[in-house]
């Protein structure tokens, strides 16, 4: 499917079908460069600094070439900064299965933890360079591949920030391979494709949303022209205001109890949102509202708040046996959170991986070393198809603490 000839013929197709969508092209960089006023300002600043005669003797030092190479990993759309290398779709599938699928799904389709990576792009988009599902009337949730305009961005981000819990651990070749796998799953390249630093520019010409970006200079330059023009009307401005949206009653307490999130004194006091909306006159509610607000301070500091959202695993982890003191348990909680264990494992309910309770029940305390190895090296098959990614960044002491906790604590 992917050949140079195809790319050339597709360019013609693009120019034809482009008429159906509003015209967009690769963005015009000159819209973002300094305006004459800004350029004058820069020159004035340089002149002023020269007059101040700041020369910072003996502060900082020249960077070594090897240091710059170690940190300068960014890749621009023109591929400046791209590391040489190559990777096939097949190799990428292997890396994907062991290091990416646990969060993003086998085919990059999962929305469990992050926005889906793939889906919503079509063969036609590859031809036109515009993703038609992005149009408002299509009403399709956006995926990464629908929005992505340059393949450089995908390479750059995976190399710098993935996998989630071990960023910068992929080699350039592994990065090429993962990018190739994603491109293949999105039908941008064939399944037998090998992506290299020398053919990546040709791939760019097939990116589904390569021409889907625009810039609005007025929102980039400080003194540019805004895109809305309200006026400061002072009287007879609008018809009687009509309320068109309110929080539905069932969502009243979704963000926790309001009273427990506000000061207990003040001009206006937080209401008890565990109860329905207030009725009657303010004076009739005053005593109850104040009394409830005051009692939010007694007991737990976080009572009624929304702070437990998103870390159910680590919160549930507090029900431990006698074998660990509170400080050690805090430490385990911290290890679980910072290493993203709780993204996949909860205390007593199955998420992506088994719950800590299930693991606890399957293994005895004699299995600590075996379990530790599984955490370090990852594995699959024991609990289902989704593999557990390896955790090379975890210290031995931390692994042994976590295994001890899993095997000894009460996870109810």
């Amino acid at each position: 499917m992917f050949t140079l000839n195809n790319v050339r013929t597709l360019a013609v197709v693009f120019s034809l079908s482009c008429a159906q969508l509003s015209i967009a092209q690769p963005i015009d960089i000159s819209a973002l460069t300094s305006t004459p006023d800004e350029q004058a300002q820069i020159e004035a600043t340089i002149k002023k600094m020269a007059e101040q005669n700041f020369t910072f003797h003996n502060v900082g030092r020249d960077a070594l070439k090897v240091e710059v190479e170690a940190w300068d990993i960014d890749v621009r759309p023109d591929f400046q900064g791209l590391k040489p290398g190559k990777g096939s779709v097949a190799d990428g599938e292997d890396v994907w299965a062991s290091k990416c699928a646990s969060c993003h799904g086998d085919f990059g389709e999962s929305n469990k933890f992050f926005a889906p990576l793939l889906g919503g792009t079509t063969e036609d988009d590859v031809k036109t360079g515009r993703v038609s599902n992005l149009r408002a009337e299509a009403n399709v949730p956006s995926t990464m591949m629908m929005k992505l305009s340059t393949v450089s961005t995908l390479w750059d981000f995976i190399y710098r920030a993935m996998p989630w819990n071990a960023p910068k651990s992929l080699t350039p070749d592994e990065t090429y391979a993962v990018v190739a796998y994603l491109l293949s799953e999105a039908s941008i390249v064939d399944a037998d494709f090998e992506l290299t630093d020398s053919n990546i520019a040709e791939v760019q010409k097939r990116m589904p949303n390569r021409d889907g970006m625009v810039v609005y200079p007025g929102l980039w330059h400080t003194l540019g022209k805004p895109d809305t023009q309200n006026t400061a009307c002072m009287k007879d401005c609008a018809a009687q205001a009509k309320v068109v949206s309110e929080l539905p009653e069932h969502a009243r307490n979704m963000n926790g109890n309001y009273a427990a999130q506000m000061r207990i004194v003040g001009a206006a006091i937080g209401v008890n949102s565990d109860k329905p909306k207030l009725t009657g006159k303010p004076q009739e509610n005053a005593a109850a509202v104040r009394a409830f607000a005051r009692q939010t301070i007694q007991g737990s500091d976080k009572k009624g708040g929304a702070n437990s959202a998103g870390d159910a695993g680590s919160n549930d982890a507090k029900a431990s046996g006698d074998s660990m003191d509170a400080a050690t348990e805090e430490k385990v909680k911290a290890i679980l959170t910072t290493n993203a264990c709780t993204s996949c494992h909860a205390a007593n309910s199955k998420l992506v991986g088994p719950s800590f309770k299930e693991i606890n029940e399957k293994y005895s305390e004699n299995d600590a070393a075996k379990l530790g190895e599984k955490i370090r090296k990852g594995g699959s098959g024991v609990w289902g198809a989704v593999p557990m990614p390896p955790q090379p960044g975890l210290a031995d002491a931390d692994i042994s603490l976590v295994t001890k906790w899993i095997l000894s604590a009460d996870h109810d």
Binding site: S22, I27, I29, L32, S34, T35, E38, Q41, I42, I46, V59, G60, R61, D62, V68, W71, D72, K112, L134, R135, A136, K147, L148, T150, D156, A161, P167, M213, V214, L219, W220, T222, G224, N230, T231, A232, M234, K235, C237, A238, E246, L247, N255, Y258, M262, R263, I264, G266, A268, G270, L278, G280, Q283, A287, A291, Q295, G310, T337, T338, S343
Partner: protein
Amino acid sequence: MRDKRSSSQKRARLRSAPENFISDEFVSEVRQHGWDDARRSFIRKSLMAAGAALAGGGVARAATQNEPDQMITQPRPWSTSLGNPVAFHPYGQPSKYEVNLQRRQSPGLTAVSQASVAFSPLQGMFGIITANGLHFERHHQGWVDIDPTEHRFMINGMVKNPKVYTMDDLMRLPSVSRMHFIECGANTAMEWGNVAVPTVQYTHGMLSCCEFTGVPLKYLLQDCGADFKNAQFILAEGNDGSSETRTISMARAMDDVIVAWGMNGEMLRPENGYPLRLVVPGVQGVSWVKWLRRIEVGDKPWNAKDETLGYVDHMPDGTLRQYTSIQECKSVITSPSGGQALLSTGFYNITGLAWSGRGKIKKVDVSVDGGRTWKAATLNTPILDKCLTRFNFPWTWDGSPAILQSRAVDETGYVQPTKSQLVAVRGTRSIYHNNAIQSWKVAESGEVFNVHVE
């Protein structure tokens, strides 16, 4: 609402012998050891046991016309015992009665707490400065606490001499301290469609304002011999796992951008980029790269992940508008605001915050009738460039339903838009950069609700 236990008999006993709460032994113990938490708790228990009457379910009641206020007529423990010693808390903490004011996540917003947001409790904040512990958080791959002796800052790219600086190096340089707001480009994003969240903490709490201290980036660019003739952009990059990257214009880099280590007089908090972050006044928070490790000077934008997949405006024709940077002029009433209740009719000071990424706030108008009529609010000083400005507006509530709105105008003359005006230009699929006028409905009951109006 009078507690049934508060019989007049108990109240009488309480009044007649309040000093009996505190035994002689206790007083001498406090004299000897000071008033620590154990002794506080003892005294509180004594008070509560005897004093259900005093408090109506444990809550202090103000006096009615016929009944003197016992908070005045009765001795209180804090004025009749020895207080705590100095350095009791070597690093000071807010009163335990302030514990409700915390940064909080909005449930359901994100699935992973390392790539999430904790919102600032704007409903309880005064003036324009955000306390360091209440500054909003938004991380892309979790926060880190970097050993400052191991942190390095590099400048490379289109410069004569690529250089490396330690924290010691940077902190020797001429520094500035300036107050600026920082607002996430996704602040108020949940409100693009319908009302989604109840309180100002969640509608507008990805907003903070601090005095930042650091060295102007222009000095460092000059120190490295940046190619000002040909370079047009810089890339800022973090030292954390995400190593977040953002393109910033050279015009800004040479204007007011700061390489900052200080935040309200102390070092940055780890959640806010300790030991080094970029401060890009007026620009959305994602560009204020935290844990800053590198600036690259270049001649083209980078189209980084958060410049093409996120922080873009999804336009109705399906194009994605990228490189929107400025946080445009915006305001919000913080009191009274959603989730609160007015507990009587009469005078209220409507107060809130206004800000603009294009400069200073010129004017804020307030409407109490849903935008039909407007009157100018008073602006508190100082009114600073790209900084929060506090406004106040006197209001006497007569008990009838009201819809409160604020509308800010900045020094360029730009007027904060209505949501309908934003939607007319950017459609309904957008997420970021929502600076629409906020409406709070005050019901006859006194309860205040987040509403959208037309």
